[in-house]
């Protein structure tokens, strides 16, 4: 979404303009759905609940949206992210995670190199549900802008220019932030999996 459209929608929202809301909804309903689904594992009832809560909450506070504080996407994702965090807090998916951690511990191979993207991860591991659970858990712990960046760049394969527009910053800033996001992701992933290894040692 270009800056002018974004600004028009923002003004429309402040004025209670129906069309502005519809434009916002059309632009972001599906991306919000996809990202929530990715972070929570795809139970459609859960995802639809969270998407609805996100947009209803957004509808209630849209009048107070301030473009100087961030883009529409950043604002929306902040609301959605709260739903995701709430989900993790309520569901406590510890059993799934614990299983995934054990699975990770049991794997042979240069696991650090896989996470650092220095070596190829075997396809069967890439396809596994356990890896998906660990990646989801890791992403859910990252700040919202890191989540957005990583998903946009590496899952949606969006070019840096498009991401820059969505986040209202330069392409250089996107690249720089992406580097930090990758680093944060790797650190979080390692922390999760290393603590799993330690737990495993103790239990043995």
């Amino acid at each position: 979404m270009d800056k002018n459209t974004e600004l028009k929608i923002a003004q429309g929202l402040q004025q209670g303009n129906r069309q502005a809301w519809l434009q916002l909804y059309e632009a972001y309903a599906e991306p919000v759905w996809r990202n929530i689904s990715r972070l929570t594992g795809g139970n459609s009832a859960v995802v639809s609940d969270m998407v609805q809560e996100t947009f209803l909450a957004a509808a209630r506070s849209a009048q107070n949206f301030r473009p100087d504080r961030g883009t529409l996407w950043v604002w929306l994702w902040t609301i959605a992210r709260r739903q995701v965090a709430l989900y993790y807090r309520k569901q406590k998916p510890e059993i799934v995670l614990s299983r995934a951690r054990q699975w990770w511990t049991s794997l042979d191979g240069e696991k650090f190199d896989w996470i650092d993207a220095k070596a190829d991860m075997p396809p069967d591991i890439l396809e596994s549900q356990e890896l998906a659970a660990l990646v989801r858990c890791t992403l859910s712990e990252l700040p919202g802008d890191y989540q957005t960046l990583l998903l946009a760049k590496y899952v949606d394969n969006q070019p840096a220019g498009q991401i820059a527009g969505q986040m209202n910053c330069s392409e250089v800033a996107v690249r720089s932030k992406l580097a930090r996001a990758r680093k944060a992701f790797r650190k979080a992933f390692k922390r999760i999996t290393i603590s799993a290894s330690k737990a495993s040692e103790v239990s043995i």
Partner: protein, 497 residues
């Protein structure tokens, strides 16, 4: 070379992160279309009408949440029943002119309070629901009693008031408190899906199709109710029959009999206490003797599973459930917005003091009129135990100090430092705290094994602390009887990074 390497790294990163797409589902267009309408209505309602929630928007998610909860399911069901009554009576066209259906509708418009009982065929105990509405027809408070047949296991009592839902298991010692701010309005807003106009339209359609039959009989005697009988199809292709009894004087429904409900059983619903004076006790939990008794049952065994020096708030909640209140200095806090130090208040005067997410002490205070015993220290000491018996059990004090506020009293520390900031790691004894007239809090640290009498200028008040079975304990006495007793940690509070 570097660029190629970066590209490969990006590809690997992409493969790794794309793992989140496994199992993720594509947007449900149908649901998103519905949500578009709802969210637009919500947006317009909030844009034009301040912060009021749009009555037109009833998200499916709300219903899902409501229906997930047994308590809210009951609440929703009860209100739906009222709406169904309205719709059926509106539908009926054969009622004699003496009975104007608008009278019943008007009667329900001023509904403020009602008590509903649901008697199920073959069950002796009814399911009960009490509901209070405010002048804006919003749910103010409700109480629900769910006998065992509704839920399996032991019966449950739930109350909702001021955004908080409390659920108490009568036999299983289950006590749950949770914030549910929007619960009641969600129920009521959800119920508006059953607006009589829409329900009537549907029923008329059924009647036109010959699927519903409605007959009415209005007895000449005013003391007898108007009887409305409706036959309608059930989802499983069976026919159900509903008989409504309407009070001729008030035009309110007093009873409904479902000869065959969706669950295959006959249900008889009784409606009473319409707009009666509200008994405050109905909408509270934790203040009745029964409820306190349940909480106190096995409390010692439960506490034995907690290590006072290591337990965190989550451990406490796991064992004892959510408290009635989180409080500090007379102020109540929400669970998600707690200060560093606070008190978790449970039924029967049982409290747990928390500092930096760790237990500082737990114990019990006398609650006049609600004195259910259960919490015991040193095998036999409980609220009401005479001072002499305490010393027989624990051994006599090494010294008795009378009065308050002099150096001889061995006051270790005194200032108005916040509880959260006090240096608990340097404490020698236990802490006594009181407020001066100017609101200033005074904290006094006292030595073990010394009986302090007349503390705080109250002659009949005594304090005593000691160590028993490796645990630090302390007592407050009034008129030589225990009125409060606590166990407290022996190890320092850990600093949170």
């Amino acid at each position: 070379m570097k660029a190629q390497n970066d590209k490969q790294k990006d590809k690997r990163m992409s493969l790794l992160l794309s793992a989140v797409d496994h199992g993720a589902n594509e947007p449900d267009r149908q649901l998103l279309d519905k949500l578009k309408e709802r969210s637009t209505a919500e947006f317009l309602a909030f844009s034009t009408d301040g912060n009021k929630q749009s009555e037109k928007t009833i998200p499916i998610s709300k219903w899902r949440i409501i229906m997930k909860s047994r308590i809210t399911k009951l609440a929703a069901a009860a209100v739906i029943i009222i709406m169904v009554i309205l719709s059926v009576t509106v539908l009926d066209k054969s009622i004699p002119s003496a009975y104007a259906i608008e009278q019943t509708i008007r009667a329900y418009e001023s509904l403020r309070y009602v008590h509903i009982k649901d008697f199920k065929q073959g069950e002796s105990e009814p399911l009960e629901f009490w509901m209070e509405l405010d002048k804006q027809e919003q749910m103010k408070r409700f109480r629900a009693y769910l006998p065992a047949w509704t839920i399996g296991g032991g019966p449950l009592v739930g109350v909702w008031s001021e955004g908080k839902l409390q659920i108490l298991g009568k036999n299983d010692n289950v006590f749950v408190t949770k914030r549910a701010e929007a619960l009641a309005s969600e129920i009521l807003n959800g119920v508006k899906n059953f607006d009589p106009r829409y329900v009537v339209r549907g029923l008329r359609q059924l009647e036109a199709e010959g699927k519903a039959q409605i007959t009415t009989s209005e007895p000449s005697s005013k003391s007898d109710p108007i009887v409305i009988t409706a036959k309608y199809p059930l989802q499983n292709d069976n026919t159900g029959q509903m008989v409504l009894f309407v009070d001729q004087n008030t035009k309110l429904v007093t009873r409904i009999i479902f000869n065959k409900s969706e669950d295959g059983y006959q249900h008889s619903l009784e409606f009473s206490d319409y707009n009666a004076t509200v008994d405050e006790k109905v909408f509270t939990l934790g203040v009745t003797l029964d409820d306190t008794k349940i909480f106190m049952k096995n409390i010692n065994a439960k506490l034995a599973t907690l290590d006072i020096n290591k337990s965190k708030v989550a451990d406490v909640v796991n064992v004892l459930g959510e408290p009635l209140f989180y409080r500090f200095r007379g102020k109540t806090f929400q669970k998600d917005d707690l200060p560093e130090a606070y008190t978790m208040s449970y039924p029967g005067g049982f409290i747990i003091n928390i500092c930096k997410n760790q237990v500082v002490q737990w114990g019990c205070q006398q609650t006049p009129g609600n004195e259910i015993l259960g919490y015991v220290i040193a095998d036999s000491i409980q609220i009401g135990t005479p001072l002499d018996d305490v010393f027989k059990k624990l051994g006599p004090p090494v010294e008795i100090v009378e009065g308050f506020g002099t150096k001889d009293n061995k006051i270790m520390y005194e200032d108005n430092t916040d509880y959260a900031d006090m240096n608990i790691n340097e404490r020698k004894g236990f802490c006594f705290s009181r407020y001066e007239d100017n609101g200033k809090e005074i904290k006094i640290y006292l030595d073990d094994n010394i009986l302090y009498k007349g503390i705080g200028k109250v002659e009949r008040l005594c304090f005593y602390g000691t160590v028993c079975n490796g645990k630090r304990i302390r007592f407050s006495f009034m008129d030589d009887k225990v009125i409060a007793m606590y166990e407290y940690r022996t190890e320092p509070i850990e600093e949170i990074e």
